[in-house]
């Protein structure tokens, strides 16, 4: 199989383009299904998201809202101080989950309009505020950088 220099290069470039095309295809296909948007309770209500649509809900855990249900079920309210939304979560909360602190949860609304979270994002540092939550609170004029330290 004697290929000329040009043909050899063609094979190389061709295989490169082919792999890249497959990758682009995979990315476009995957992105439609897996991209998850972040909303605050106000935005979520404004968008009138239907049940079953997956998104991230972020804000502050409302003071006094955390209550335990049957078994591992936990209910709490996420607020951006303008609007709030009830969340249920079955599982173990991260260590740094506290009332009055920022939280990001991922899941979907059920038929009653309650957010069923399957993930509550943990953080490593008690001073860390998820950026989305910080921005959302800044819009409400409630939080400045460094303002959430104990």
């Amino acid at each position: 199989m004697a290929l000329t220099r040009k043909q050899r290069r063609g094979v190389l470039v061709g295989s490169g383009v082919a792999i890249l095309a497959v990758a682009v295809g995979l990315v476009l296909w995957a992105l439609g299904d897996t991209l998850v948007f972040f909303y605050t309770p106000s935005q979520a209500q404004e968008k009138q998201l239907g049940p079953g649509q997956r998104f991230r809900l972020g804000g502050l855990v409302a003071e006094g809202s955390v209550e335990r249900g049957d078994g591992t079920l936990i209910r709490f309210t996420v607020t951006d101080t303008a609007q709030e939304m009830s969340v249920v979560f079955a599982g173990v909360l991260p260590d740094l989950f506290r009332e009055g602190q920022g939280v990001v949860t991922e899941g979907k609304l059920n038929a009653e309009g309650v957010f069923e979270a399957d993930t509550v994002l943990a953080k490593h540092d008690e001073n860390y505020m998820p950026r989305e939550v910080a921005d959302a609170l800044k819009e409400q004029g409630l939080w400045q950088h460094g303002g959430d330290e104990q």
Binding site: S15, A23, D33, L121, A122
Partner: protein, 658 residues
């Protein structure tokens, strides 16, 4: 006093680095040996100064000098000594000093061991290293000075973030940084080669060991980080496709590609331009990684509180270096002459395929990591890209690559016979298919693709052994002769086989945990039992216990299989006295075939929430990474790196030094 010495040393190091970046470059341009040698001295002095600054900071931590703001914020007198020492890099400022220390160390190595490099190349490499030092020293001095004093000095510190008080995480940053920064060597060599206008086999032979060292460190650093996340965070997971994790994974992918393409330059003098590009890309990804982690622009589960101004500074550094390097590349690369013709089916062709898959895979990771950022800038909507995206894009791209790995070493350079190569691998193929059948039978009804994933791992291991067996003529010579031949094989051949086998081991662990993990959450009272994957866990109760700087609430479990108690597991809720921050300590019992992983949660009237996992073959993931590291180490001891100075090709004998 010591802190001031440290601060002064940093400023002096900056001055030296400026000299190091300019003088040798000018000297090389003019062909002035004396000016070029300034680089050697400057690199050593710079390293000594940064080391002094580093020890000054360590002194402040070890002696708990709380008049230094950084120590006050991140240390406490009651902390164990190990964490006082590692606390030096357990914070932003200190970790940047470590970054520059490692950078200066690599520069000093060029100066000390680079005697066989041509003078002009060494001068230019040192100059580029100096330039990177200048940028990061400036960054430390301007935005992140670790030696800022507090007056009056507080009585005690605020303590290190408890989650960082852990042996694996204590040594995770040094290895990770050694990897990140180690790729700066390939970067500097690439820029120096572009300025010189030539790349040859000798150049590749100098670059490869540095890249290999960086790659080894990064492999171990990533593995440590993921191991830590596995047992410390208590979620039972080991990789979350989190932006901070991706930040370290992308340079690893590009670095792995570079490691392979440099072989082609070394052996065949082909792929020169591509290798240079890859060297630039790899370090660029290290810079992007540093930026993503240090600026906090992306929401990460591993994020720490950050200062946005620093992000801007690193962004500027990043743009200058990446932009400058690519400009130089665009300008000079066309003048590099390429040699070494080869057919598509050949060792070269195989390595190109490896590079294509790795770089395209790396590009998908980069895309997934940055997409939310771009979308927010363009559309203003906040979003996140999680594991499902990467599982659908990156993973399918890696499967053909992994399937082709064992084939590569059987292909001859220039032109290879695919049929013959496949024939030599039939034993390996048979073993893998056999294992797939056994796995499919044992886990019947589980994920359909999982047995094939396991087979892929076995294929890599068996393929690596086949390569060694074939080269030493096992089965064709007497056993004694073959064994002698096996011992006589170049270390690089062994290193490659070991590293590929290690990858196989890791793949088995990854596939098994992803496909067959069992998770149970239950609320149980003392005396009650829960069942997970055939194990019975009896909850004995909770007892308090005091540690050096924390208080534990220890949940005690007895683990039984078929009624026989075989282990007592202790998982704790830990409260650190200083920060009053709770953490969870998972209890892990490791078998050969997997981990029993138990985490105690909060209590209520109904009992304690307990999470239990069975993670089949989980330890294989990290054992595999360690084997890959060892493979790299074996390859590093190869004869060709130890014996004799690599000589440049004949037509350049006039400029080449010995």
């Amino acid at each position: 006093m010591v802190a001031e010495v440290g601060h002064y040393a940093l400023v002096l190091a900056l001055a030296i680095a400026i000299a190091q970046s300019l003088v040798p470059l000018f000297g090389a341009h003019r062909g002035d040996g004396q000016l070029m040698r300034v680089g050697d001295t400057a690199a050593l002095v710079q390293f000594a100064l940064v080391l002094l600054a580093f020890f000054a900071l360590m002194h402040a931590f070890v002696t708990s000098d709380f008049s230094v703001s950084n120590v006050w914020e991140n240390s406490h007198s009651a902390k164990p000594m190990l964490y006082k020492v590692t606390g030096v890099w357990g914070n932003h400022e200190g970790s940047m000093v470590l970054w520059v220390l490692i950078l200066a160390f690599f520069g000093a190595c060029v100066s000390m061991f680079g005697g066989n490099l041509p003078d002009t190349l060494r001068a230019r490499v040192l100059s580029m290293q100096g330039l990177i030092s200048v940028a990061f020293l400036l960054f430390i001095i301007v935005t992140s000075n670790p030696f800022v004093r507090l007056d009056p000095a507080p009585v005690d510190g605020r303590g290190l973030n408890p989650i960082l008080q852990d042996p694996a995480l204590a040594f995770h940053p040094p290895f990770l940084y050694a990897g990140y920064v180690g790729f700066s060597m390939a970067f500097s060599f690439a820029l120096a080669a572009l300025i010189e206008g030539r790349v040859d086999a000798a150049w590749a032979r100098w670059v490869r060991p540095w890249t290999l060292v960086a790659w080894m460190c990064l492999t171990l650093g990533i593995a440590m980080g993921s191991w830590w996340a596995y047992y410390e965070l208590g979620w039972g997971g080991w990789w979350f496709w989190d932006p901070v994790e991706n930040a370290s994974f992308m340079p690893w992918l590009a670095g792995t590609a570079l490691l392979h393409s440099a072989i082609v330059v070394e052996k065949r003098e082909a792929l020169k331009v591509w290798t240079i590009l890859l060297a630039i890309l790899t370090f660029s990804l290290s810079l992007i990684g540093t930026f993503l982690v240090r600026s906090g622009v992306l929401t990460s589960v591993h994020a720490f509180a950050v200062d946005p101004e620093r992000g801007v500074f690193i962004l500027v550094i990043m743009c200058l270096f990446i932009g400058g390097a690519f400009t130089l590349f665009a300008w000079r690369a066309p003048s590099l002459r390429s040699g070494g013709l080869f057919a598509p089916i050949s060792r070269e062709g195989g390595l190109i395929l490896n590079n294509l898959f790795l770089t395209v895979g790396c590009a998908t990771v980069l895309f997934g990591t940055l997409y939310p950022l771009v979308l927010e800038a363009v559309a203003g909507t906040k979003s996140s890209v999680g594991p499902p995206f990467f599982n659908l894009t990156f993973v399918p791209l890696m499967i053909p690559l992994l399937a082709l790995v064992p084939l590569g070493p059987f292909l001859a350079w220039k032109r290879a016979d695919l049929g013959a190569a496949l024939q030599r691998l039939w034993v390996a193929a048979a073993i893998s298919l056999g294992v797939a059948a056994i796995a499919g039978y044992a886990k019947f009804g589980g994920p359909v693709l999982a047995p094939f994933g396991i087979a892929l791992g076995v294929w890599l291991i068996a393929g690596a052994f086949s390569d060694i067996a074939f080269r030493s003529k096992f089965g064709r010579e007497t056993l004694g002769v073959a064994a002698r031949r096996a011992f006589g094989l170049p270390r690089s051949a062994w290193g490659m086989a070991i590293a590929h086998a290690g990858l196989g081991v890791a793949i088995i662990g990854i596939v098994a945990v992803s496909a067959w993990r069992v998770e149970k959450i239950a609320v149980i009272k003392p005396g009650e039992t829960m069942e997970v994957a055939g194990f019975e866990l009896q909850f004995e109760g909770v007892v308090p216990r005091q540690g050096p700087n924390y208080n534990d609430e220890v949940g005690i479990f007895t683990a039984r299989r078929d009624g026989n108690a075989f282990a007592r597991l202790e998982s704790a809720k830990r409260i650190y006295a200083v920060r009053q921050m709770p953490t969870t300590e998972a209890a892990i019992y490791t078998f050969w075939t997997g981990d029993l992983y138990v985490v105690i949660g909060d209590g209520s009237e109904q009992g304690r929430t307990v999470r239990a996992y069975y993670n089949p073959f989980a330890p294989f993931i990290w054992i595999g990474a360690v084997i890959m590291f060892l493979g790299g180490a074996v390859s590093l001891t190869d004869r060709r790196y130890r014996i004799g100075a690599p000589k440049r090709a004949r037509h350049a004998a006039a400029t080449g030094g010995a």
